[in-house]
Protein backbone atom coordinates (compact mmCIF):
# COMPACT_ATOMS: atom_id res chain seq x y z
CA UNK A 1 0.00 0.00 0.00
CA UNK A 2 1.35 3.45 -0.91
CA UNK A 3 1.43 6.27 1.65
CA UNK A 4 -1.56 7.96 0.01
CA UNK A 5 -3.54 4.72 0.05
CA UNK A 6 -2.50 4.17 3.67
CA UNK A 7 -3.81 7.61 4.70
CA UNK A 8 -7.06 6.84 2.86
CA UNK A 9 -7.35 3.48 4.61
CA UNK A 10 -6.77 5.10 8.00
CA UNK A 11 -9.48 7.70 7.35
CA UNK A 12 -11.89 4.96 6.24
CA UNK A 13 -11.15 2.83 9.31
CA UNK A 14 -11.43 5.73 11.74
CA UNK A 15 -14.69 6.98 10.21
CA UNK A 16 -16.37 3.57 10.06
CA UNK A 17 -15.28 2.84 13.64
CA UNK A 18 -16.63 6.16 14.92
CA UNK A 19 -19.93 5.48 13.18
CA UNK A 20 -20.19 2.06 14.87
CA UNK A 21 -19.72 3.84 18.21
CA UNK A 22 -22.36 6.43 17.37
CA UNK A 23 -24.95 4.09 15.84
CA UNK A 24 -26.22 2.56 19.09
CA UNK A 25 -26.48 5.97 20.78
CA UNK A 26 -28.58 7.23 17.84
CA UNK A 27 -30.75 4.14 17.56
CA UNK A 28 -32.02 4.33 21.14
CA UNK A 29 -32.03 8.14 21.39
CA UNK A 30 -35.76 8.68 21.81
CA UNK A 31 -36.67 5.42 23.48
CA UNK A 32 -37.77 5.05 27.07
CA UNK A 33 -36.21 1.72 28.02
CA UNK A 34 -38.88 -0.75 29.15
CA UNK A 35 -38.19 -3.49 31.69
CA UNK A 36 -37.87 -5.92 28.85
CA UNK A 37 -35.48 -3.71 26.88
CA UNK A 38 -33.34 -3.18 29.99
CA UNK A 39 -33.25 -6.94 30.64
CA UNK A 40 -32.35 -7.54 27.00
CA UNK A 41 -29.54 -4.98 27.06
CA UNK A 42 -28.27 -6.46 30.34
CA UNK A 43 -28.20 -9.93 28.80
CA UNK A 44 -26.49 -8.54 25.68
CA UNK A 45 -23.87 -6.78 27.81
CA UNK A 46 -22.98 -9.95 29.72
CA UNK A 47 -23.06 -12.00 26.51
CA UNK A 48 -20.52 -9.68 24.84
CA UNK A 49 -18.18 -10.07 27.83
CA UNK A 50 -18.64 -13.86 27.73
CA UNK A 51 -18.10 -13.86 23.97
CA UNK A 52 -14.79 -12.00 24.29
CA UNK A 53 -13.45 -14.02 27.23
CA UNK A 54 -14.67 -17.54 26.37
CA UNK A 55 -12.92 -18.18 23.02
CA UNK A 56 -9.58 -16.91 24.37
CA UNK A 57 -9.85 -19.12 27.45
CA UNK A 58 -11.01 -22.04 25.30
CA UNK A 59 -8.03 -21.70 22.93
CA UNK A 60 -5.54 -21.15 25.74
CA UNK A 61 -3.23 -23.74 27.29
CA UNK A 62 -4.27 -25.37 30.62
CA UNK A 63 -2.44 -22.59 32.50
CA UNK A 64 -4.53 -19.92 30.75
CA UNK A 65 -7.77 -21.79 31.43
CA UNK A 66 -6.92 -22.23 35.11
CA UNK A 67 -5.96 -18.55 35.23
CA UNK A 68 -9.51 -17.62 34.17
CA UNK A 69 -10.93 -19.66 37.05
CA UNK A 70 -8.44 -18.08 39.46
CA UNK A 71 -9.37 -14.57 38.28
CA UNK A 72 -13.09 -15.25 38.74
CA UNK A 73 -12.59 -16.72 42.24
CA UNK A 74 -10.41 -13.81 43.41
CA UNK A 75 -12.85 -11.30 41.91
CA UNK A 76 -15.85 -13.01 43.52
CA UNK A 77 -14.24 -12.95 46.97
CA UNK A 78 -12.49 -9.55 46.90
CA UNK A 79 -14.28 -7.53 44.15
CA UNK A 80 -10.90 -6.06 43.18
CA UNK A 81 -10.28 -6.41 39.41
CA UNK A 82 -6.57 -5.50 39.60
CA UNK A 83 -5.90 -8.07 42.33
CA UNK A 84 -7.87 -10.69 40.40
CA UNK A 85 -6.08 -10.09 37.11
CA UNK A 86 -2.58 -9.82 38.58
CA UNK A 87 -3.09 -13.00 40.64
CA UNK A 88 -4.19 -14.76 37.45
CA UNK A 89 -1.14 -13.53 35.51
CA UNK A 90 1.32 -14.51 38.25
CA UNK A 91 -0.43 -17.88 38.48
CA UNK A 92 -0.06 -18.43 34.71
CA UNK A 93 3.63 -17.50 34.75
CA UNK A 94 4.24 -19.84 37.73
CA UNK A 95 2.46 -22.80 36.09
CA UNK A 96 4.32 -22.28 32.82
CA UNK A 97 7.66 -22.07 34.65
CA UNK A 98 7.11 -25.53 36.19
Amino acid sequence: MTSTAAIGALIVMATVTYLTRLSGVWALKNTTPSTRLTATLDAITASVLVAIAAPAAYDGDPAARMATVVAVIVMATTRKPLLAVSTAVIFTAAIRAL
Partner: protein, 242 residues
Protein backbone atom coordinates in the same frame (compact mmCIF):
# COMPACT_ATOMS: atom_id res chain seq x y z
CA UNK B 1 -35.61 8.58 28.18
CA UNK B 2 -35.82 12.02 26.63
CA UNK B 3 -34.03 14.65 28.60
CA UNK B 4 -33.84 18.17 27.24
CA UNK B 5 -30.23 19.09 26.56
CA UNK B 6 -30.78 22.53 25.09
CA UNK B 7 -29.94 24.99 27.88
CA UNK B 8 -27.84 23.25 30.54
CA UNK B 9 -26.38 19.81 30.01
CA UNK B 10 -25.47 17.22 32.61
CA UNK B 11 -22.17 17.67 34.46
CA UNK B 12 -18.80 17.36 32.74
CA UNK B 13 -16.24 18.06 35.45
CA UNK B 14 -12.55 17.56 36.13
CA UNK B 15 -13.48 15.57 39.25
CA UNK B 16 -15.53 13.21 37.09
CA UNK B 17 -12.68 12.92 34.62
CA UNK B 18 -10.28 12.07 37.46
CA UNK B 19 -12.50 9.34 38.87
CA UNK B 20 -12.80 7.81 35.38
CA UNK B 21 -9.04 7.97 34.84
CA UNK B 22 -8.46 6.40 38.29
CA UNK B 23 -10.97 3.65 37.54
CA UNK B 24 -9.21 2.62 34.34
CA UNK B 25 -5.67 3.10 35.74
CA UNK B 26 -5.34 -0.45 37.18
CA UNK B 27 -6.03 -2.01 33.79
CA UNK B 28 -3.85 0.32 31.69
CA UNK B 29 -1.01 -2.25 31.85
CA UNK B 30 -3.43 -4.73 30.29
CA UNK B 31 -4.32 -2.32 27.50
CA UNK B 32 -0.69 -1.29 26.96
CA UNK B 33 0.33 -4.95 26.65
CA UNK B 34 -2.38 -5.54 24.08
CA UNK B 35 -1.21 -2.36 22.30
CA UNK B 36 2.35 -3.68 22.33
CA UNK B 37 1.28 -6.89 20.67
CA UNK B 38 -0.41 -4.79 17.98
CA UNK B 39 2.77 -2.73 17.51
CA UNK B 40 4.78 -5.94 17.11
CA UNK B 41 2.25 -7.44 14.67
CA UNK B 42 2.01 -4.24 12.61
CA UNK B 43 5.79 -4.02 12.23
CA UNK B 44 5.78 -7.69 11.27
CA UNK B 45 3.15 -6.98 8.59
CA UNK B 46 5.38 -4.28 7.10
CA UNK B 47 3.55 -1.17 8.30
CA UNK B 48 5.73 1.91 8.78
CA UNK B 49 5.90 3.16 12.38
CA UNK B 50 3.79 6.26 11.61
CA UNK B 51 0.98 4.22 10.05
CA UNK B 52 0.69 1.81 12.97
CA UNK B 53 0.81 4.67 15.50
CA UNK B 54 -1.74 6.75 13.59
CA UNK B 55 -4.05 3.75 13.31
CA UNK B 56 -4.01 3.18 17.08
CA UNK B 57 -4.52 6.90 17.72
CA UNK B 58 -7.49 7.36 15.36
CA UNK B 59 -9.20 3.94 15.31
CA UNK B 60 -8.53 2.65 18.85
CA UNK B 61 -10.17 -0.71 18.25
CA UNK B 62 -7.82 -3.69 18.71
CA UNK B 63 -9.71 -6.41 16.87
CA UNK B 64 -10.34 -4.29 13.78
CA UNK B 65 -6.74 -3.11 13.70
CA UNK B 66 -5.36 -6.66 13.82
CA UNK B 67 -7.77 -7.68 11.06
CA UNK B 68 -6.74 -4.69 8.92
CA UNK B 69 -3.14 -5.93 8.98
CA UNK B 70 -4.28 -8.98 7.03
CA UNK B 71 -5.61 -6.74 4.25
CA UNK B 72 -2.82 -4.18 4.22
CA UNK B 73 -0.69 -5.84 1.52
CA UNK B 74 -3.45 -5.47 -1.09
CA UNK B 75 -3.23 -2.31 -3.24
CA UNK B 76 -6.79 -1.09 -2.58
CA UNK B 77 -8.68 -3.30 -0.14
CA UNK B 78 -11.47 -0.77 0.43
CA UNK B 79 -14.55 -2.96 0.46
CA UNK B 80 -13.12 -5.81 2.56
CA UNK B 81 -11.59 -3.21 4.86
CA UNK B 82 -14.91 -1.43 5.43
CA UNK B 83 -16.82 -4.69 5.90
CA UNK B 84 -14.23 -6.16 8.28
CA UNK B 85 -14.07 -3.04 10.43
CA UNK B 86 -17.86 -2.84 10.42
CA UNK B 87 -18.27 -6.48 11.42
CA UNK B 88 -15.68 -6.53 14.18
CA UNK B 89 -16.75 -3.18 15.59
CA UNK B 90 -20.48 -3.78 15.32
CA UNK B 91 -20.38 -4.69 19.02
CA UNK B 92 -19.89 -0.94 19.57
CA UNK B 93 -23.55 -0.62 18.57
CA UNK B 94 -24.43 -2.53 21.74
CA UNK B 95 -22.17 -0.34 23.88
CA UNK B 96 -23.72 2.84 22.46
CA UNK B 97 -27.22 1.41 22.86
CA UNK B 98 -26.74 0.61 26.54
CA UNK B 99 -25.28 4.07 27.23
CA UNK B 100 -27.72 5.98 25.02
CA UNK B 101 -30.31 6.91 27.64
CA UNK B 102 -27.65 8.18 30.04
CA UNK B 103 -25.78 10.11 27.32
CA UNK B 104 -28.83 12.13 26.25
CA UNK B 105 -28.61 14.42 29.30
CA UNK B 106 -25.27 15.90 28.22
CA UNK B 107 -24.37 18.65 25.78
CA UNK B 108 -23.90 17.54 22.16
CA UNK B 109 -20.25 18.59 22.10
CA UNK B 110 -19.13 16.56 25.13
CA UNK B 111 -21.37 13.73 23.92
CA UNK B 112 -19.69 13.59 20.51
CA UNK B 113 -16.26 13.49 22.15
CA UNK B 114 -17.34 10.83 24.65
CA UNK B 115 -18.75 8.63 21.87
CA UNK B 116 -15.28 8.56 20.28
CA UNK B 117 -13.81 6.80 23.33
CA UNK B 118 -16.52 4.16 23.76
CA UNK B 119 -14.67 0.85 23.69
CA UNK B 120 -14.77 -2.44 25.60
CA UNK B 121 -13.10 -1.34 28.88
CA UNK B 122 -14.32 2.29 28.94
CA UNK B 123 -17.86 1.14 28.27
CA UNK B 124 -17.74 -1.67 30.85
CA UNK B 125 -16.43 0.67 33.56
CA UNK B 126 -18.86 3.48 32.73
CA UNK B 127 -21.83 1.12 32.54
CA UNK B 128 -20.92 -0.22 36.00
CA UNK B 129 -20.43 3.33 37.37
CA UNK B 130 -23.84 4.44 36.03
CA UNK B 131 -25.44 1.60 37.99
CA UNK B 132 -23.82 3.07 41.07
CA UNK B 133 -25.19 6.54 40.31
CA UNK B 134 -22.46 8.18 38.20
CA UNK B 135 -23.91 11.35 36.66
CA UNK B 136 -20.81 12.93 35.13
CA UNK B 137 -19.82 12.43 31.48
CA UNK B 138 -16.27 13.34 32.56
CA UNK B 139 -16.08 9.79 33.94
CA UNK B 140 -16.37 8.27 30.46
CA UNK B 141 -13.91 10.84 29.09
CA UNK B 142 -11.44 9.99 31.89
CA UNK B 143 -11.75 6.27 31.11
CA UNK B 144 -11.25 7.10 27.44
CA UNK B 145 -8.14 9.18 28.09
CA UNK B 146 -6.51 6.35 30.06
CA UNK B 147 -7.49 3.91 27.33
CA UNK B 148 -6.13 6.08 24.50
CA UNK B 149 -2.83 6.89 26.22
CA UNK B 150 -2.10 3.27 27.16
CA UNK B 151 -3.23 1.91 23.76
CA UNK B 152 -1.15 4.37 21.72
CA UNK B 153 1.78 4.20 24.18
CA UNK B 154 1.69 0.40 24.06
CA UNK B 155 1.65 0.45 20.25
CA UNK B 156 4.73 2.69 20.14
CA UNK B 157 6.52 0.47 22.67
CA UNK B 158 5.65 -2.60 20.58
CA UNK B 159 7.00 -1.00 17.40
CA UNK B 160 10.20 -0.08 19.24
CA UNK B 161 10.70 -3.47 20.89
CA UNK B 162 9.79 -5.61 17.90
CA UNK B 163 10.05 -9.40 18.04
CA UNK B 164 12.02 -9.31 21.27
CA UNK B 165 8.78 -8.83 23.14
CA UNK B 166 6.56 -11.43 21.50
CA UNK B 167 8.03 -14.44 23.35
CA UNK B 168 8.26 -12.74 26.72
CA UNK B 169 4.56 -11.91 26.66
CA UNK B 170 3.74 -15.64 26.85
CA UNK B 171 6.48 -16.52 29.34
CA UNK B 172 5.24 -13.99 31.87
CA UNK B 173 1.62 -14.97 31.40
CA UNK B 174 0.73 -11.54 30.03
CA UNK B 175 -1.32 -13.07 27.19
CA UNK B 176 -3.93 -14.00 29.80
CA UNK B 177 -4.31 -10.39 30.94
CA UNK B 178 -7.02 -9.43 28.50
CA UNK B 179 -9.48 -12.29 28.78
CA UNK B 180 -9.06 -12.79 32.53
CA UNK B 181 -9.88 -9.09 32.79
CA UNK B 182 -13.13 -9.55 30.87
CA UNK B 183 -13.89 -12.62 32.96
CA UNK B 184 -13.55 -10.55 36.15
CA UNK B 185 -15.91 -7.90 34.72
CA UNK B 186 -18.54 -10.60 34.45
CA UNK B 187 -18.49 -11.46 38.15
CA UNK B 188 -20.57 -8.48 39.41
CA UNK B 189 -23.08 -9.11 36.60
CA UNK B 190 -23.96 -12.59 37.78
CA UNK B 191 -27.69 -12.54 38.50
CA UNK B 192 -28.20 -16.10 39.67
CA UNK B 193 -30.37 -18.50 37.65
CA UNK B 194 -31.38 -15.81 35.15
CA UNK B 195 -27.75 -15.65 33.99
CA UNK B 196 -27.17 -19.36 33.44
CA UNK B 197 -28.85 -19.84 30.06
CA UNK B 198 -27.74 -16.61 28.31
CA UNK B 199 -24.13 -16.96 29.48
CA UNK B 200 -23.74 -20.62 28.49
CA UNK B 201 -25.38 -20.05 25.11
CA UNK B 202 -23.30 -16.90 24.48
CA UNK B 203 -20.09 -18.75 25.37
CA UNK B 204 -20.92 -21.71 23.12
CA UNK B 205 -21.93 -19.49 20.19
CA UNK B 206 -18.78 -17.38 20.62
CA UNK B 207 -16.48 -20.42 20.67
CA UNK B 208 -18.09 -22.55 17.95
CA UNK B 209 -19.41 -19.63 15.85
CA UNK B 210 -15.86 -18.89 14.76
CA UNK B 211 -15.84 -22.02 12.61
CA UNK B 212 -18.81 -20.93 10.52
CA UNK B 213 -18.96 -17.11 10.77
CA UNK B 214 -16.65 -14.43 9.34
CA UNK B 215 -14.17 -12.80 11.75
CA UNK B 216 -15.80 -10.85 14.55
CA UNK B 217 -19.36 -12.01 13.89
CA UNK B 218 -19.22 -14.71 16.56
CA UNK B 219 -19.43 -11.94 19.20
CA UNK B 220 -22.47 -10.43 17.48
CA UNK B 221 -24.16 -13.82 17.19
CA UNK B 222 -23.43 -14.57 20.85
CA UNK B 223 -24.83 -11.18 21.92
CA UNK B 224 -27.95 -11.70 19.81
CA UNK B 225 -28.59 -15.16 21.28
CA UNK B 226 -27.91 -14.01 24.85
CA UNK B 227 -30.08 -10.92 24.36
CA UNK B 228 -32.93 -12.97 22.93
CA UNK B 229 -32.90 -15.30 25.94
CA UNK B 230 -32.81 -12.24 28.23
CA UNK B 231 -35.80 -10.74 26.42
CA UNK B 232 -37.83 -13.94 26.59
CA UNK B 233 -37.15 -14.63 30.28
CA UNK B 234 -37.85 -10.98 31.20
CA UNK B 235 -41.43 -11.19 29.93
CA UNK B 236 -42.04 -14.23 32.12
CA UNK B 237 -41.09 -12.37 35.27
CA UNK B 238 -43.47 -10.25 37.30
CA UNK B 239 -43.67 -6.62 36.09
CA UNK B 240 -42.04 -5.06 39.17
CA UNK B 241 -38.93 -7.23 39.06
CA UNK B 242 -36.05 -4.88 38.27
Amino acid sequence: MTVSSSTSGGPCTLAGWKSGALAIAPITPVIATFGMSFGVAATDAGLPAWTATAMSATVMAGGAQFAALELWHQPSPWLPLVLTVLAINSRHFLFGATLSGWLQQFRPRSRRLAVAVISDPSWALTDAAIREGQQDIGYLLGCGTGLWVSWVGGTIAGIAAGDLLAEQIDTFGLDTLLFTYFATLLVPRWAGRASVAPWIVAGAVAVYGRDVLPDGWNVIAAAACGGLIGAVTATRRTPNTP
